[in-house]
Structure formats: C-alpha cells, structure tokens
Assembly symmetry: C2
Homo-oligomer: 146 residues x 2
C-alpha cells in the first residue's frame, strides 16, 4: 500500500521559534512554508541532510478549533503524524478499507504543495496518526478524479 515514508510531522506551538531551533541546532533547512486553511495549520517542510530521504514537517495551529490545538493541549509538542507516499490515494484508501482500516475522509483533502491526502485514525494504526499522501504531478497540478 505504502511506497515510502513521505514525511514525519511534528506539532509545535510556535512555528517561527521551532524553525529557528531546528535550523541552528540540527542544521536543517526550510524548503516550503504553507498555510492549510482546511486543517487550520501552518506547516513548514525541513530538509534533513542532503535531502535524499524524507523531510520533517513542522505544524503549528492557526485557530482554537484546529485538531492540532487539541493535540497540543493533550500531548504537548512532539511527533503528531507519520505520512506515507501512495501512488493513488483512491486505490490505497479502498485497499485499506477492505482490510478493516477506517480512513477518515470520504474524499481526499488537499495537502502540502497540491498533494491529495487522507488520514487513518490512531486507534486503527497503533496510536499513530497516519497520513496518506499522493503527491501532485511534477508540473504542480493535482490529479483530478474523473
């Protein structure tokens, strides 16, 4: 079902402060910052090393009713999600549902950089919020459903 780890998402209270720490202490570099209104978060992608492997994603809440605000209130800062790359999100979602895994949204949502995403609830994935990511095609467009 999964091709590889797409990114690892870390919840932080203050994106600016966290980025400074990750850059200065760990030598990581920001490649992308984006507001996702649908999820109520601002998110930054951070390259690790030479960038051949998966990046980190730092996520900070934009509003009180963001699911991330709830996460931070309950667990504090820390790893909030593991995202996996899938080739086709409809096929992956169907395969997972066949195996009894609850996938959160009926239709994929829009993720970072035009990707199409969906989520598996932590109760269905050993306590881990799992994000499924179908990357946008190389020209930046999102594959549309027929």
């Amino acid at each position: 079902v999964f091709r590889a780890i797409d990114h690892v998402g870390i919840a932080v209270h203050d994106l600016e402060a966290a980025l400074k720490e990750y850059e200065q202490r760990f030598g990581m570099h920001v490649t992308h910052i984006e507001v996702n209104d649908d999820q109520g978060v601002v998110e930054a992608m951070l390259t690790v090393g030479d960038g051949d492997g998966p990046p980190l994603q730092l996520l900070a809440p934009l509003r009180e009713d963001s699911p991330l605000t709830k996460f931070l209130g309950k667990r504090g800062e820390g790893v909030q999600q593991i995202a996996y790359t899938v080739d086709n999100i409809e096929i992956a979602t169907a395969q997972l549902r066949e195996r009894g895994v609850e996938v959160l949204y009926d239709e994929p949502r829009t993720g970072t950089a035009g990707s199409r995403v969906n989520f598996i609830h932590p109760k269905n994935a050993g306590g881990v919020l799992v994000e499924l990511v179908e990357q946008a095609s190389d020209d930046g467009t999102t594959r549309r459903q027929p």
Copy 2:
C-alpha cells in the same frame, strides 16, 4: 549534523500483535528483530515499500524498569523517537553540545545491529526523543574508539 532520518521508532505494548497488524494492514515486512538488554526493549525493523527510504522500528518493553514502560504508561502507544543517521557519533555529539543541546549518555551505547547510538532529551528537541545513530560498518563490526 544529521545525514538523514535513520528510522522512526514506535512504542507498542505487544510486539507480535503489532507486527501482525503492520504486515497485514500496511503490507510492511520485518527485516530484523533484536533484544536490547541495555535499553530493556525488544525491537523490530519494518521495511516500508521497496525499502529505499527509512524503516519503521517497533519497540516493546522487556521489563517494568525499561524507559519504554514509563513512556507507554504516560503516553500510550505511538511514535516514541525519531532517529537520525550521523557519520561519526562522537563528532555529532560534540557539535550538538557546543550548540547547547544536552546529549543523554557520556559514551555512545550499542543500538540495533551493532550501531552506536546516543539520545537527545525531548526537552532539548521540541518534545521529540531524538536518537543519533552511527551505523556499524558494512562488515558488521562496530567502529571502536581509539
């Protein structure tokens, strides 16, 4: 400092049950199981997709006094660590300490498959337990300090 994400570690109560779930639901494959007496855990490495990217590590406690027992009691199952590959663990540790990051052990410990590891406390890394991993050389031997 960090070359790439080495693996993502997930704390579970029951390794057997978790492995079955990850294999059946997500199609992942176990490549390595090992007991680490020093850390009081049994750990399994799981390949994601074609295995070009970093694996998952599932960790279950072996005893009541394992730090992982404490983690599971407090947070429940979920992501427990992000591990990063470093070329030389003494150099990486020294660089991090220069930048004010507290590294847990004075001397590296033995990690999975003969690797040499150390840890950064979550309070020094935005709520995330960070593991530093210097992989054993290809012939399986561990580099010894002079």
